[in-house]
């Protein structure tokens, strides 16, 4: 990871993702309250719609990036032991990577079928 990513770029990622997450979250709230999917098949076809799935994938990617920057900030502030911090960051990275792959798998499977 370059030095630039850790300062300015991490900050930009945090701010930009926050805007997208906020807008998309409001959209999801409206979707689920105004026209919630009636059954699993409808829900599945909504996700499989290419436009929706693209926005969902962007949402998930930015959410993972946002969690990474935010929790990294917390660890940098509050965990002064370098080895413990490295362990926490490593665990977080593995966890987020796992969630990302799992999520991508779900979306891809829905889109294929």
């Amino acid at each position: 990871m370059t030095r630039r990513f850790q300062g300015l770029n991490a900050w930009i990622l945090q701010r930009a993702s926050a805007v997208y997450l906020a807008i998309f979250f409001v959209y999801l709230v409206f979707y689920f309250t105004l026209s919630p999917p009636a059954n699993f098949g409808e829900w599945r076809s909504w996700v499989a719609d290419p436009i929706n799935s693209i926005f969902i994938i962007i949402f998930m990617a930015l959410l993972i990036g946002h969690i990474w920057v935010g929790l990294r900030d917390v660890f940098m502030d509050y965990v002064s032991s370098l080895s413990l911090r490295a362990l926490l960051l490593f665990t977080l990275a593995i966890g987020l990577l796992g969630i990302g792959i799992w999520f991508a798998r779900i979306i891809i499977l829905v889109m294929i079928k």
Binding site: R4, L8, M76
Partner: protein
């Protein structure tokens, strides 16, 4: 009027603690510094810094009822009793209310707080338009009393790596100065996860600044300038 003042003398050992003082003759308009001097009359071993007595030098910054401020411009009438006076938080204590600010000054030094010219120095003064001069308002007034940086949680956690609000306000003061020619170097020197970006806009600095300055805004402007430069 009752006071509880932090006492600690590392040379004599012992535990730090609060000592009670009581001042009988409190006159209207009296400032906290005068009360501290009267406490020192009662116990001359009480130690604190002070100099000008009118909020210009920034020597007598202390933690007053949990909030950093200058004793000399804090009216006693505004304070709740007993007034608890502690040293500035997060810094090593030398004695009583005197803290070691060398780390704070070191962070100030790293931002190179002086104009840098790469072109040959002109024969006359470098002129500024009134608008260019206005950019420095709210920045040059800082007296480096350390109220802001020692009130900043990010500075408590990472005092060696995060520059702190006072140094960053001055960093912006020189970035914003139309006469300075080292803007790119200054911005580059602030890159990285710690020096600027440990600021989470907590705004304690703005809350405590005895000169009414806004370091959080200056830090925001540094970030925006970095962003503009990177695009």
């Amino acid at each position: 009027m009752k006071f509880k003042i932090y006492r600690y003398n590392p040379e004599q050992g012992g535990k730090p603690g609060l000592q009670d003082f009581e001042i009988a003759a409190v006159q209207p308009g009296m400032m906290l510094l005068e009360a501290l001097l009267k406490c020192k009359d009662q116990d001359e071993s009480l130690t604190f810094r002070r100099s000008c007595g009118e909020g210009v030098c920034g020597s007598d910054a202390v933690n007053i009822n949990g909030v950093n401020g200058l004793a000399c411009i804090t009216p006693l009438a505004d304070l709740k009793e007993p007034v608890v006076i502690r040293p500035l938080p997060g810094r090593p204590i030398i004695r009583d209310l005197v803290v070691d600010l060398s780390g704070f000054y070191q962070q100030y030094r790293t931002i190179k707080p002086y104009l840098t010219l790469y072109e040959p120095e002109p024969e006359v003064e470098i002129l500024q338009s009134p608008e260019e001069r206005d950019q420095l308002d709210g920045l040059y007034e800082c007296i480096l009393c350390a109220c802001c940086s020692t009130a900043c949680p990010s500075f408590w956690w990472n005092p060696e790596k995060f520059l702190g609000p006072a140094a960053l306000l001055q960093a912006w003061r020189f970035i914003a100065d139309s006469r300075d020619q080292a803007t790119d170097e200054r911005l580059a020197a602030l890159e990285g996860p710690y020096r600027v970006f440990r600021c989470h806009t907590i705004m304690n600095c703005v809350d405590v600044c005895p000169k009414g300055l806004n370091p959080t805004q200056a830090i925001g402007r540094i970030k925006m300038r970095m962003l503009k430069q990177s695009l």
